[in-house]
């Protein structure tokens, strides 16, 4: 495992309106480390990603990237600090072309070549509106778009949702290759156990807005039944 800390979350409290979803959450992620976040629906996984990305303002606690506070910054500053986000439901720009979607991932990029290298199937449809792609290809596009700017940390929310299993495997392998080659850390929220275990070096379990347990990826791969113990809380 890489040494040092990339992302350090301490005592994070956040939520929507009056209701808090995260209650003093602590989590650290090392540089280049792939982490999967698991837990039942409503325990705050998506809320955590949104708060790290700056879409939700934390009510308390701190978020640091490389030691510098990023909590309270607007999302574009957090993106420029090196965090990329693939939201649940992908949120590709349906009316814009595949190529335009990729360029939006890094407006300073000369072209979208990096995205096509990652998922070559996208190159064939570069001039088509993203809304015409299949669910799996839209997910690939959303991931490629996030990776355009060479982030140090990728936040990935339910990438397997509505995607064929074979495409999920392909996505996981492409992601793992980029993460390994560029030292990119990943925080993956995923219900799909196969995908989570394929990618994650460590699995963190959440419940009621806190981190309640964690396991090494190798231990879980050796004995998947340990997963059930955490998920049937």
């Amino acid at each position: 495992m890489a040494d040092g800390t990339l992302l350090e979350i301490a005592g994070l409290t956040a939520g929507y309106g009056g209701g808090m979803v995260l209650h003093g959450l602590d989590l650290t992620v090392g540089p280049g480390e792939p982490v999967a976040l698991m837990g039942r629906n409503g325990v705050g996984k998506t809320t955590l990603l949104k708060t790290v990305m700056g879409l939700l303002r934390p009510r308390g606690g701190t978020i640091r990237l490389d030691g510098a506070r990023i909590d309270g910054l607007p999302p574009f500053r957090i993106a420029r600090a090196g965090i990329a986000y693939v939201p649940q439901g992908r949120e590709v720009f349906a009316d814009l072309t595949v190529e335009e979607n990729l360029i939006l991932g890094d407006l300073a990029a000369a072209d979208a070549g990096r995205g096509y290298e990652l998922f070559p199937a996208l190159a064939e449809r570069r001039r088509e509106p993203a809304g015409r792609l299949s669910g799996g290809q839209q997910q690939q596009l959303a991931i490629a778009r996030a990776l355009m700017a060479r982030p140090r940390l990728l936040l990935l929310d339910e990438p397997s949702e509505g995607v064929q299993p074979s495409v999920v495997i392909e996505m996981a392998d492409a992601l793992a290759a980029v993460a390994a080659a560029e030292g990119m850390a990943v925080v993956l929220v995923e219900q799909n156990v196969d995908l989570a275990l394929r990618l994650a070096g460590r699995v963190v379990f959440m419940d009621r807005g806190r981190v309640v347990a964690e396991e090494g990826g190798d231990a879980l791969r050796a004995d998947p039944s340990r997963l059930d113990a955490h998920l049937v809380l």
Binding site: G54, L55, F76, Y85, P87, E100, L104, L107, R145
Partner: protein, 286 residues
């Protein structure tokens, strides 16, 4: 009046209305701000030409100064007023309505309530289809066409425009990709104001320059957007062609009163039959 003159005057009105509607539409599309001061930005453009003339500058210098000067006013207005009302549509209407009153009163304080005239540059006339037509009006059309084309190029051929279209489609996601939406809002508002300023400056020699000069443009521009549809940047242009063309042709054939009536009846019919506008509807069907 000769048919050719009639059609050319109609084209002139349509192209100017397109400029005004385009500025209004990009501001609404990007920021969800209904800018009731847009007509006053046009009025300011005309006053810049007037002021430049009084300062002894040639007409063309005034024309060139107007868009950046009005864009600057737009930039300041966005910073001190409009940005505080984002996300509250009703407040943007109230705030920009207040802004329009302030700008109109500023014109009254500086230049009095009466109207001024700007002498058009003497470019002579050309004979088109047997009747003389002032060259300056042709120049106004060329300026409008160029500005419309440039606006399209800005939005469809540049990275700034790509970022703006992304913000229009999904503001939060655009921000997550590192796009500074605040900066984009500010500059888009300035571009919208500058377009109105250009329209006002180009029209200055053809209209009475007074504090109310912008009022007559706001409603047709809104109708153009409603009729054309908000779904695309081309919508307002189609709407402006319909509204402006119908208005100027009816005014020439019958009277301005009948023209108003015809425009409103046509607008109501279009909005009733195609609530999403001409262009948006067509796009969805495809």
């Amino acid at each position: 009046m000769h048919l050719a003159t009639l059609l050319l005057d109609g084209a002139n009105a349509v192209l100017i209305l397109m400029l005004v509607a385009l500025g209004l539409a990009i501001v609404f599309g990007l920021m969800n701000v209904i800018n009731l001061a847009h007509g006053e930005f046009l009025m300011l453009g005309a006053y810049v030409v007037l002021a430049a003339g009084q300062a002894g500058l040639p007409f063309w210098v005034g024309l060139a100064l107007a868009p950046p000067a009005v864009a600057l006013v737009g930039l300041v207005a966005e910073e001190v007023l409009v940005r505080h009302t984002y996300t509250r549509l009703l407040d943007t209407i109230l705030a920009t309505w207040g802004l329009s009153l302030v700008l109109r009163q500023a014109a009254v304080l500086l230049y009095g309530p009466g109207s001024h005239s700007v002498v058009p540059p003497d470019l002579g006339a050309v004979t088109i289809a047997g009747s003389p037509y002032p060259v300056y009006r042709l120049v106004v059309m060329a300026i409008s066409l160029t500005a419309i084309a440039a606006t399209f190029a800005l939005f469809f051929r540049t990275r700034f425009g790509l970022a703006a279209r992304a913000v229009i489609a999904n503001r939060a996601m655009a921000s997550c990709l590192g796009i500074d939406t605040r900066r984009l809002d500010r500059w888009t508002f300035a571009v919208g104001a500058g377009l109105a300023g250009l329209a006002g400056a180009a029209m200055a020699p053809l209209i009475a320059v007074d504090p109310q000069a912008g009022l007559g443009w706001l409603v047709p521009a809104f109708l153009a957007i409603l009729v054309g549809g908000l779904g695309s940047i081309a919508g307002p242009l189609v709407g402006a062609a319909g509204i402006g063309g119908l208005d100027s042709l009816t005014a020439a054939v019958a009277s301005p009163v009948w023209a108003q009536l015809a425009v409103f009846v046509a607008a109501i019919l279009v909005i009733r039959l195609r609530p999403t506008g001409l262009i948006a509807r067509r796009r969805r069907e495809s």
